[in-house]
């Protein structure tokens, strides 16, 4: 545990500048929201920057992971010359991104809350749906961001593996790895087998005041995506332990 805690601390230190820049960007988005409130008057449009900021957090973990890997690649022997399994080295980077995204999103939510209170009259009609949807969006943004972060790890490890064997064509392999899995996944998701294994544990997200149809999903789909991501993570760890060279 001491080894992993030290890795996490190191990963935080490697990426803390990006983290603090992110917090400043959050602050700027809040200021933009306040500014829009003064020029656009009392409309919900003023909250667009905050919504955009929250949605862009889907790219938060991948960005943190990518920057961390960019720094490691400059001294790859340091990172890889370590008796810990690659899964331990990699999970530290993901957890570091997770801690940062949670803090960043919490900051945005708290600030949004502070901005919403004086404009409560704008939300009064659909207040219940607003805060429930905000609650649902929070973990989903984190899940999506983490999943993309794991894919970034995989693409990076794949690139490191193939660059010593096929050189400049490595990018083609990486581009293939970006295109083929979503395509294959979309194909599989259109099959009866997919429906059979995922369509259980019905979950409905219903927001009557938003004038949209209820959103239907399944616990099986969450589990399916979770298993895929765990699989990609351990494949990445295997590539790092057995194929990546300095």
């Amino acid at each position: 545990m001491r080894a992993w805690a030290a890795l996490l601390k190191k990963d935080f230190k490697l990426t803390r500048t990006v983290f603090f820049v992110g917090l400043v960007i959050n602050l700027l988005m809040v200021m933009l929201t306040i500014y829009l409130g003064t020029i656009a008057g009392n409309t919900l449009l003023m909250f667009i920057p905050l919504v955009v900021a929250v949605v862009f957090h889907a790219l938060y973990v991948p960005i943190i992971v990518f920057i961390s890997l960019r720094i490691e690649v400059n001294q790859l022997h340091l990172w890889l010359h370590n008796p810990q399994p690659a899964s331990t080295l990699l999970i530290s980077k993901i957890v570091n991104g997770l801690i940062m995204i949670v803090i960043s999103l919490l900051m945005l939510y708290v600030m949004s809350g502070l901005l919403v209170i004086p404009k409560f009259n704008l939300f009064e009609a659909y207040w219940a749906d607003t805060w429930i949807s905000a609650l649902i969006i929070f973990p989903h943004i984190i899940m999506i961001s983490t999943a993309i972060g794991v894919w970034v790890l995989f693409l990076w490890a794949l690139f490191q593996f193939v660059k010593n064997t096929i050189g400049r064509w490595s990018w083609l392999v990486v581009i293939g790895a970006v295109i083929i899995p979503p395509w294959a996944s979309a194909l599989f998701e259109s099959t009866n087998l997919y429906r059979l294994v995922t369509r259980w544990g019905n979950i409905t997200y219903d927001f009557p005041t938003f004038s949209i149809d209820p959103l239907q999903t399944y616990a099986g789909e969450y589990l399916y995506n979770f298993i895929i991501i765990i699989g990609v993570f351990f494949l990445t760890a295997w590539i790092m332990d057995n194929k990546v060279e300095v």
Partner: protein
């Protein structure tokens, strides 16, 4: 025991090492010599498990060398420094957290010998001091195999000799083997028990230094001039 059996290494189409077979026992100081680009660093990386052979096998204490062989191998790379986010003391703490064999008391002693201060920030260290830091972090591990790739590059020539001698005093030859590459063979020759000569990726010779002196009346540098030029 480090065992390399018919090891070849290619980077794409370029051959770095060709059919190398050798055994390296515990309790020796071994120098790897050869021209630039002859494959010295590749040989060390293969033993450290940070590179993998294209063919043949590398084992350390009977275990196939991959990156996790670092549990019994301490490796100093020629390139780069340590994480710039740390001070000297933080770098020592980090190493101690990752390697249970990292001897903090020994690290402290080497740090003082190397005239490093614990509060020095690595990003502010001179090239020479970064080299000293790398040596300290590598030597403070109590592992059977210490691998050092050009450990003296960047060190001031005036202090190099004392650092070389001091460094060797921190190697326990009862339980450790030090394998290093070095351009300036004359500087380390008196310390070496054996040498491995590589030429264009092939093993030219592996011999005891004493044997070379006694049988052929040559120093390593003299022998290299004869066989490389």
């Amino acid at each position: 025991m480090i065992q390399m059996t018919n090891v070849s290494k290619k980077y794409m189409k370029q051959s770095a090492l060709k059919d190398i077979s050798l055994s390296l026992p515990i309790g020796k100081i071994i120098g790897i010599v050869g021209e630039n680009g002859s494959g010295k660093s590749t040989l060390l990386r293969l033993i450290s498990g940070l590179s993998l052979p294209t063919s043949g096998s590398v084992t350390v204490n009977g275990e196939r060398a991959n990156r996790r062989i670092s549990k019994v191998v301490s490796y100093l790379s020629e390139v780069g420094s340590f994480y710039h986010i740390y001070t000297v003391k933080e770098a020592m703490d980090f190493q101690a957290s990752q390697f249970t064999d990292f001897n903090m008391a020994k690290a402290d002693e080497i740090m003082k010998f190397m005239q490093l201060e614990p509060d020095m920030k690595i990003k502010n260290l001179s090239k020479g001091n970064r080299g000293r830091l790398k040596i300290m972090l590598t030597l403070a591990r109590e592992v059977p195999y210490l691998l050092m790739d050009e450990p003296f590059s960047g060190l001031d020539p005036m202090v190099r000799e004392s650092i070389v001698r001091g460094m060797i005093s921190y190697v326990d030859l009862e339980s450790q083997t030090l394998i290093m590459t070095c351009h300036e063979t004359t500087e380390i020759e008196s310390l070496l028990d054996s040498f491995i000569a590589i030429k264009e990726g092939s093993l030219l010779r592996m011999a005891d230094v004493e044997e070379l002196h006694e049988l052929e009346g040559l120093s390593i540098t003299g022998w290299m001039k004869k066989n490389y030029v």
